[in-house]
């Protein structure tokens, strides 16, 4: 019985992230519009967009290969698996030991690998420019992320997110190194999700664009899958920050029904606050030139590195 229950909770987690992801996107758009004194699209607009895209025909470029057609599913699957492994409402899920935080980072890297390849498949200048910039950013964002993982793992003594979350719940303390890791993670999250100041999710046809340039040739259901994957990735990062740095409300392993509900509700509250903070930051800062971004990401890397170094010097930092 317990096994079936655990499996059900794990399944619920997978569905939960999938359903929640477009909502987070809707929240950010709504908040942003309100801050700019606009009414903004309805909260559920991302769902409608997805439904519309799914119903539309795919217009495929003439020389698109099989890789172009399979890449959206690969990207989506890798992102979904990664997002399902980050605790949202409960820790200690059935398959939480499948992959630790380093593996989650690498899963996202797999998704990016295929996205960049898909960008290059048609053979246009835009796809190439997007892929090239994405890989440049990744070359700094990924080590920064790993350094941040090091900090968290050295503090908590584990790279398993469930253990980290439970550790943070029971050993609440303010640490310099964790602060550095938080800043590093926020910068990485901004870059990885193509948010301002690194990229602008609301624009097309700007030479500054990165993510949008790679998916330029996609349409119909392929685009829907890719957009959903992007939304999942944003949710993943917000959930990650919430799970490591504000783990309160997470249902402990083998808990009953009501802690799970509490966990889900607190998680909703957390991502609402997360969306607000993200939008607040985005509206108060200008987009950077492409070649300023490596400096920003380099500073994230250095912060993560410094945090790790401090913990190597003394565990009490």
């Amino acid at each position: 019985m317990g096994m079936i229950r655990d499996l059900a909770i794990q399944g619920a987690q997978m569905v939960f992230v999938l359903v929640l992801a477009p909502l987070l996107l809707g929240l950010t758009r709504k908040f942003k519009a309100r801050m700019l004194d606009r009414v903004g699209p309805p909260l559920l607009q991302p769902y409608r967009d997805l439904a519309k895209l799914v119903r539309k025909d795919v217009v495929l470029a003439e020389n698109a290969s099989w890789l172009f057609r399979t890449a959206p599913y690969m990207i989506f699957a890798a992102t979904w698996v990664a997002a399902a492994l980050v605790p949202t409402f409960a820790t200690g899920l059935q398959f939480s030991w499948t992959a630790d935080l380093i593996a989650i980072t690498a899963l996202l890297a797999s998704a990016r690998f295929f996205l960049a390849l898909a960008g290059m498949d048609i053979g246009t200048a835009f796809g190439g420019i997007g892929a090239s910039r994405e890989m440049l950013f990744a070359s700094l964002a990924e080590p920064a992320m790993i350094m941040m993982v090091f900090v968290v793992a050295l503090v908590a003594g584990s790279t398993q997110l469930s253990f980290v979350a439970n550790f943070m719940l029971t050993h609440v303390s303010l640490r310099v190194s964790l602060g550095m890791a938080l800043v590093a993670l926020v910068i990485v999250a901004l870059a990885e999700n193509a948010r301002i100041p690194v990229d602008n999710p609301a624009t097309h046809l700007e030479l500054t664009m990165v993510h949008e340039a790679m998916v330029l040739e996609y349409s119909g259901r392929h685009l829907a899958v890719i957009e959903l994957a992007a939304a999942l990735k944003l949710l993943l990062y917000v959930s990650l920050i919430a799970c490591v740095f504000v783990p309160w409300g997470l249902a402990p392993p083998h808990s009953g029904f009501w802690p799970l509900v509490v966990g889900a509700v607190t998680h909703l509250a957390k991502i609402t606050i997360g969306a607000f903070l993200l939008v607040f930051f985005e509206t108060s800062i200008a987009k950077m030139r492409v070649f300023r971004v490596p400096e920003l990401l380099g500073s994230a890397l250095m912060l993560g590195f410094l945090g790790t170094l401090l913990l190597f010097v003394s565990r009490s930092f």
């Binding site: 799914v54 795919v58 499948t98 048609i122 790993i146 119909g220 259901r221």
Partner: protein, 695 residues
């Protein structure tokens, strides 16, 4: 863990008696296979008049011999064969003889070498048919295989060095197979110089370890008591000797020249396998023969490894020649192996046996992984070369349409080499990260400061490897063809494809059930650091747990299954509920589709941002702009200047001095007989004076 000692499971019936008879000893089988390889090498020139027959015979026999060696070594490694006992042949130095044996360390590397050799032979059965000068390749190929196996089988310094030199010279001959190209002749020259230098360093290292009474057999060499300064010096010599063969920065300069110059199956062997023989030589000397390590050794090894990994991949990302790009990526991966070895040394000197076992297993695992995916990638490069005659990726493009099968396998190799789950490259790097996370307990401050930097370098090189292979694959295989050769490429033969499929299958297997490899390497870890990793049973845990359950775990198989299930789910949902229509149209490209493939992003433009960000530090690169004076209608020019710093700082001055000295000495060739006689006399007097002072 004591019950999992060396050959603990050898108690299989009959194992002991066969060893007594001495006929079925694994080492005898292995030596027999090596003898077959040497015989093939000798016979090949006789048959090379008829390449249509000689090619399949030579590669087929070599492949079979390698397969026998592989099976023997694997059975020995897993403990199914009794490996005790040495074979002493009356060859070599008369009072020493040639010693051969198989212990867990050599069994592991025999597995790596002969797996690579067997698949390369299979590939060559197809690929070798396109060879223009088979008589320049066929005799040396089996000799090369024999040399590599001899190095690993030998149990005394003399046969080790003979095997090493055999391997170097045979591979040199293969590098020079296409000697009509100027570039290859230069590669051959640089390789010969570096290989001789490396062998000299190893000779000195073994000489120091053998001591004044000349103990050459490894069995006795390991137990000698030595002066305290000596092991450090041996480490430096081993780094110079084995490191130059493996491609450690700054001794790597020959590698990106020589590896691509050889025919592709040989490139795969040189990059994937011969560098592992070098790693074996280093491990044998430093972990086994020289005695207890000192903590600063680990800092040197780790630091060089990190430098090698980062510089290797930065070079790779700017390279346009597909095979040279792969060679630079080999430099990177060797750096990762050395990072693992350095960590293992650090833990071993501080008596942290568990972490040491983790680090050394990770290093061995990565060595195996690299031999798998580098072989695959070089086979792919060879297939591209066969199909288009091009190595320059700027002239390729769109090959995924023309070579769909090869493109799929190379994509798999690119995923594996970029350390992405669920394939194998990720597992070994993940294990090294886990080892790094155990290192705050190291007592030395220098290591405490160094290890995080090494971790950052490892993460950085992994991310850059991803960028490098997106670029290589994206430019060569995706997009539109940039040349007529690429537009008319034809899929390669079935044997080449089978070899690639085999390697990709092994990459996947090692990625989703890494516990098999970890368990197989446990006896090696015991031999090297006196401890092994906890056993990693496939069921019921399905995941690898390097230290303890709560600390970290990773299950490649579950990740793979989840990816399959979730992509299956979404494909099903999409095809159930979504529009199924596909319309083909011209690329949108923001409304300005351009028919010319020249408008695509090129490899150089892809690498430009990375060059601009990291180039000034790594290569001292800058852009030279030349603007015509006002009124001059000639075009402005941009030139990217990129320095190969190790070459310019280290090698160019030395080679300049050597050639100047050689020019001076050149006059000695044209003296009169009187002058020669007086020179001889002076030399004689000089030597006698030396002897007089010595005595």
């Amino acid at each position: 863990m004591g019950d999992r000692g060396i050959g603990a499971e050898t108690a299989c019936a009959g194992g002991a008696d066969t060893a007594d008879e001495g006929v079925f000893m694994p080492v005898v089988v292995a030596l027999g296979s090596v003898a077959v390889l040497i015989l093939v090498a000798i016979a090949a020139p006789l048959a090379s008049r008829r390449p249509a027959i000689a090619t399949p015979v030579v590669y087929g026999t070599s492949g079979l011999a390698a397969l026998v060696l592989f099976v023997t070594a694997l059975a020995a490694l897993l403990g199914h064969l009794d490996v005790a006992g040495e074979v002493v042949l009356p060859l070599g130095l008369p009072w020493v003889g040639a010693h051969f044996r198989i212990d867990p360390l050599s069994a592991f590397f025999l597995v790596v070498v002969d797996l690579g050799a067997a698949t390369a032979s299979l590939y060559a059965l197809g690929y070798g048919a396109h060879e223009d000068h088979p008589e320049r390749v066929l005799p040396f190929y089996p000799a090369f295989l024999a040399g590599m196996n001899l190095v690993i089988l030998s149990a005394d310094a003399f046969s080790f060095l003979v095997g090493w030199e055999f391997m170097s010279l045979a591979s040199w001959a293969l590098v020079m197979a296409h000697h009509h190209e100027e570039e290859n002749r230069r590669a051959g020259y640089v390789y010969l110089v570096m290989a001789s230098f490396g062998t000299l360093m190893l000779l000195l290292a073994f000489g120091l370890m053998a001591g004044p009474d000349g103990v050459y057999a490894f069995a006795e060499m390991g137990n000698r008591v030595r002066e305290p300064w000596l092991p450090g010096l041996v480490l430096v010599l081993a780094l110079l000797g084995a490191g130059s063969k493996a491609g450690l920065v700054p001794l790597h300069v020959w590698l990106p020249l020589a590896h691509p110059a050889a025919p592709s199956h040989v490139s795969a062997l040189m990059s994937g396998v011969m560098t592992k023989v070098a790693v074996y030589g280093f491990v044998r000397i430093v972990f086994d023969l020289v005695g207890e390590p000192v903590w600063w050794w680990s800092a040197v090894v780790m630091g060089l490894g990190a430098l090698t990994a980062v510089l290797g991949v930065l070079h790779a990302i700017l390279e346009r020649d597909f095979k040279r790009l792969l060679a630079y990526s080999t430099v990177e991966n060797i750096g990762i192996v050395f990072i693992g070895l350095g960590l293992a040394l650090a833990f071993r000197t501080n008596e942290m046996a568990g972490p040491a076992a983790l680090a050394v297993t990770a290093a061995l695992f990565h060595a195996l992984n690299h031999s798998l995916f580098k072989g695959l990638m070089f086979f792919g490069a060879g297939a591209v070369l066969t199909a288009t005659g091009e190595r320059d990726i700027e002239k390729l493009g769109g090959l995924i349409h023309r070579l769909p099968v090869t493109a799929f396998f190379v994509l798999g190799g690119a995923v594996a080499i970029s350390a992405l789950p669920p394939l194998n490259g990720f597992v070994s790097e993940w294990m090294i990260f886990q080892a790094i996370l155990l290192s705050p307990d190291l007592p030395q401050w220098a290591l405490k400061f160094m290890v995080p930097a090494v971790g950052a370098a490892l993460a950085f090189s992994a991310a850059l490897a991803g960028a490098c292979f997106v670029r290589a694959y994206g430019v060569a295989f995706l997009g539109r063809p940039r040349s007529a050769a690429a537009a008319e490429a034809r899929e390669v033969d079935i044997l080449s494809r089978t070899a690639m499929a085999l390697l990709l299958g092994l990459c996947l297997l090692a990625g989703i059930v890494p516990g098999l490899v970890i368990d197989a390497a446990s006896s090696v870890a015991i031999q090297l650091v006196g401890h092994d990793m906890p056993p990693q049973p496939l069921f019921p845990s399905l995941s690898i747990v390097p230290v303890s359950e709560g600390r970290s775990s990773y299950s490649g198989m579950l990740v793979f299954i989840f990816i399959l299930i979730s992509s299956g789910l979404v494909i099903w949902a999409i095809h159930r509920f979504a529009s199924k229509t596909i319309r083909r149209g011209p690329a949108w490209d923001c409304g300005f589709p351009d028919a010319s493939p020249a408008t695509q992003y090129t490899a150089d433009s892809f690498a430009m941002p990375i060059r601009r960000v990291f180039g000034p530090v790594a290569f001292g690169s800058y852009i030279e702009r030349w603007m015509p004076p006002p009124g001059d209608p000639s075009p402005a020019r941009l030139k990217v200047v990129r320095h190969d710093l190790p070459w310019e700082i280290l090698y160019a001055p030395i080679s300049g001095r050597v050639s100047r000295l050689a020019e001076r000495l050149n006059t000695l060739q044209f003296l009169s007989i009187r002058s020669y006689l007086s020179l001889v006399f002076a030399a004689l007097v000089g030597l006698l004076v030396v002897v007089a002072i010595w005595a």
